[in-house]
Amino acid sequence: MSPSLLNSLLMLPALVLLAIVFAWPLLDSAWLSSQASSVLTGLSPIANDGANWQRLLGDARFWQDAAVTLRFAAVSVGLELLLGLAMALVLHRPGRGRGWLRALALLPWALPTTVLALGWRWIYNDPYGPLNAILRAFGAPPYGFLTTPATTWLFTVLADVWKTTPFVALLLLAGLQSIPAELEENLVLEGARPGQILRRLTLPLLKPWISLAVLFRLAQALGVFDLVQVLTRGGPAGSTESLALYAYLNAMRFLDFGYSATVVIATFLLLVLLTAIGWLLLVRRPLEASR
């Protein structure tokens, strides 16, 4: 047996499972998005000439959810990057108990999102939660963190940032560890201040890790589901409903599988488009510029 054939055979079982669990569902959902399959068809598929896609184009709720999802992704990924960088710098500094510090900082990332979302629901509780207790201590009236359509999305972002910043920090920490210490020492000897070191040395060398973190977090944030489903259930007044939650509701509550599949595929296309743009901006262009 040739080595190449052997290598392919070794990879085959894993690749087959990946194809079944990733490729087939996308193809299946793409096909289902061309079918009527709902309670009105007895849950069996009937071709409907792109009616699902026509409905999607005119569905104000889909576009609102798309805007909500994009806003959520943009703001939470941005904040996670900033805070993640700060956290990585703190975790990188040598000192006693650094291992424990890293473990404790990592904790929010390691715990189940639904568990944490339930915890945040209590933290945001009106009027008995701790945030409202703080407001009360300052003599302010209680605030409806989860009942004010204009601001509730910010508090879903906060919960997400708290949960996933450690992951971003860990990726950036890997980048920091790959920077040789001598480079920094040289700059220090030249009399550079910490801010200058960050701008001239750390950030440029950290670029690949930042790109990786942004692409990963962007894709994940565009599929946000667990958090909003437990924390707000898409409310108040639908102001935090994500695309994934809309797809889920269409399937599991409204029993409209054709339309659910359409929302899934539309979200997938949006995801591909945005990650492709992100890849071009973050990875491709810097590569060409560096040539």
């Binding site: 309670v39 569905d59 009942t147 359509p149 409310g235 108040p236 599991m252 509550r253 409204f254 029993l255």
Partner: protein, 428 residues
Amino acid sequence: MAGLLLGLLLILLPAALLARPVAAATTVRVLMPSPFVDATASLVAAFNRDHPELKVEVARGPLDTEAMSDLAIGGLLLGDSGYDLLLMDVSWTAKYVAAGWLVPLEGLLGEDALEPMVPGARVGNAFGGHLWRMPLTGDTGLLYWRTDLMAAPPRTTTELEAVARRLQAEGKVRWGYVWQGRQYEGLSCVMLEMIHAFGGHWWQADSGPAGGRSELDSPGAIAAADWLVHLVRSGVSPEAVADFAENEALQLFAAGDAAFLRNWPYAWREIEKGGGPVVGKVGVSTVVSAPGISSGGTLGTWGLSLLAGSPHPQAAAEVIRWFTGPQTQKALVLDQGYAPTWAALYEDRELQQKHPLLAVQRQALEQGPLVRPLTPLYAQLSDLLQRQVNGLLTTAGSPEAAMSLAQRQSAVLLESAAGHGSGRQGST
């Protein structure tokens, strides 16, 4: 490697525990929301003692109606519900029938199975020429009021508002009226009552594939939304009502902080049990409507349905007959304060004495309770309405615009349904 070994160990140990128990030939498995499991536990135990050949096994679902629906649908979609009977909310029936998940009951229980029920409780169980569900409770929306603060309950929306404002001004109560304003099914129940209370309709049935069309931009519907918003803006209802489900509203009323409460029959027993400041000072009446209009409460009954794929429908039907029968219901009225569905139980002297709510419930059920749109698309229609009305309660916006948007969205949904839903409807 430690993780790997740990993993293997964890698989091997509990694998034996996971093997499903072999079902006895006549075990009937019933899935119910948690409160019903507790309420019926002793009755089910007695049934199992008396019937050695037929075992009833009750599985505990979640408390919340929507969570319960998600769980049941999850199992049915997987083709592995594992249950013979499901205790269903009245608003689910049309959807489950269209999905082909239910078995008609008339052949098992007789064509006249619903005859002995109060007329109001019969609604929403039989359609398309089949009986799909046997009602266990006859709940309708009710108005709770404080007997220590007024001599008689208000009959109209205007009266209610005036009394509430007066009591608030006198400092007798912090709030006037509490109800369910959260973005969930309870808000649709409130809206249905209010739309009819102002002379409108949510739904006009027809013979189309969706079973009807909605009329959410009618003057009555707009007036209904307008009144609810007005209650919040004018301080008769707290702003927090926009996040109130049944229980939050009940808590506030039971604490003596509100003059009026909109809730279901269970609330009476909860208030009495709770031992709070209003025990013995609570009256119950039918819901109010605009002057000159007679209206009713939303029908919110629970009932048992037989799931397709049950291996022993005869035995399951036997259990339905027992569960929804007069003895069981009488016991549930006495122990739990549930509203019965049997007409004869409303004549029962013992019950009338021990459960003062019975007279009001009978009135509410005979007045013609309001049924939520009987269509397989109900979940979507309700969702659209909830979003708009909850939006009105939480942000500035005009009721006209919100309701006509809800109407437009409903129409789009129904049209897209009409496009493809012709063939298979009702072919079950």
